[in-house]
Amino acid sequence: MIWRKTKNYFFITILTLSGIAVLIPLILIIIYVIKMGFSSLNWQFITHLPRPVGESGGGMAHAIVGTLFLVGLGGIFSIPLGIMLGTYLSEFKKDKMAKFLRHTIDLLFKYAQGNELEEHCKRLSDAIEKVKPLALKDDWMSELRMNAYLDEIKTRKELGA
């Protein structure tokens, strides 16, 4: 019994340590970025273009605007498509094209991580999966009631005949 208990505590200690260890890189990276970058972060850095080499001052406005443009345009292209395809994947799961699409999205997701489309698809597919029972409950109930009703009619007819 003592041996089993020791093993148990040993195991739990290892799990706890790994839970702490996994946070270390994240904390180190955040500290590193703040340490290196915080001193040069000011209003000018966000709003100005870079000055020629040798002059002090200037900023990274072009890069920030570029990133925003990229994300914005990417979102405009991909969000409607992502919503549609996410709905498709979760609602028509058995459809043949859905199976192809799932593979394709998996592959594209690996291959081009900057692409937003696939992520939206996955998230939405998950979200719809969670909402669906609520939304469809009414539908199912009515269908079930309808089936029971039709069954009853059928039985009555058979009995009457």
Partner: protein, 310 residues
């Protein structure tokens, strides 16, 4: 109740239109992938016709004499990915177990969010941190330690420049941890609490309960998560290209600089001077795509086998 039937028929027509619209959109996405592959093939065609399948096993990469072979890069990709898996898989599984079973619910959710935050760090930030912070640490702390303990093996010999296969693997292992961890958590959460309670009621300790009631049934799920992590590691480009050192020489030592398929493409496509160089890079991209496809299908296959048939 029967008078609701016409209404249902109209709903069906709406459903049908939506279904076809969505099918069409889905076909476009599938077509996108097919076009991508075709374009890649077209790009790689000169290299395919010149080097053939020998490209995979040839280890010369010389843009000046126009001789190309992908072997060092394939080996580099496989070694870095598997070393990353070796480090990340046990860690991720135990973190997932810690979150699901040992820590209090609130704290677990918080820790889970932090782990997922690792996935949100841009890979270029990982690369920068890897060069300026991790590489010196590897050179000054990890390398002497490994040399003193395991130095008799050929893998742990030779000088360390900080950047190299080991550093790239470390970075990769940090990057794929959230992928595996999140997947494993989802797998562990599917296990009904009755099973766990039954194990505990029979007198099992926490460790035995986890072994019997959680790890055993979710074995294939864990494997699928690890394979997905592997897929992520194979395609990782920027962070690896920054810390791996980029040489096309093969070396037994894990301290030596190397190269992966993704990193060589990222580094050389801009300065590829002649058509055959570019075509060779295209060929490597095609091989990488094929490897990713195989790994991915393997993960899908495991998940499909593991999903209960309803």
């Amino acid at each position: 109740m029967l008078e609701s039937l016409p209404c249902r028929r109209m709903q069906n027509r709406q459903d049908l239109i939506t279904l076809w619209l969505m099918r069409w959109l889905a076909a476009m996405i599938v077509l996108l992938l097919i076009l991508l592959v075709i374009l890649l093939c077209k790009l790689a065609l000169p290299a395919i016709s010149k080097f053939g399948l020998g490209f995979i096993l040839s280890d010369t990469w010389n843009p000046i004499t126009e001789e190309f072979g992908a072997f060092p890069f394939i080996i580099g990709t496989l070694i870095t990915s598997f070393m990353a898996l070796l480090m990340a898989a046990p860690l991720s599984v135990s973190v997932a177990l810690f979150i699901c079973e040992i820590c209090p619910k609130q704290l677990g959710r918080l820790l889970g969010t932090f782990v997922e935050m690792i996935a949100a760090v841009p890979s270029i930030v990982f690369g920068l941190w890897g060069i300026f912070s991790l590489a010196p640490w590897v050179q000054n702390v990890v390398t002497p330690f490994l040399k003193n303990t395991l130095g008799f093996l050929p893998f742990f010999q030779g000088p360390s420049y900080g950047i190299g296969v080991l550093t790239a693997s470390l970075i990769l292992s940090i990057m794929i941890t959230p992928t595996i961890c999140t997947f494993c958590r989802e797998v562990f959460n599917t296990i009904p609490s009755q099973t766990k309670e039954a194990a505990l009621a029979l007198g099992a300790t926490r460790f035995e309960m986890i072994k019997i009631a959680i790890l055993k049934p979710s074995y294939s799920g864990m494997i699928a998560g690890i394979v997905l992590g592997l897929g992520r590691a194979l395609g990782e480009t920027m962070a690896v290209a920054m810390v791996i050192g980029n040489t096309s020489r093969l070396s037994l030592s894990i301290f030596a600089p190397g190269s992966t398929m993704a990193s060589v493409i990222a580094n050389e496509y801009a300065e590829a001077s002649n058509a055959i160089h570019l075509a060779s890079l295209g060929y490597i991209a095609l091989l990488l795509l094929a490897i990713t496809l195989i790994i991915n299908s393997f993960a899908r296959f495991i998940i499909w086998k593991w999903t209960p048939k309803i």
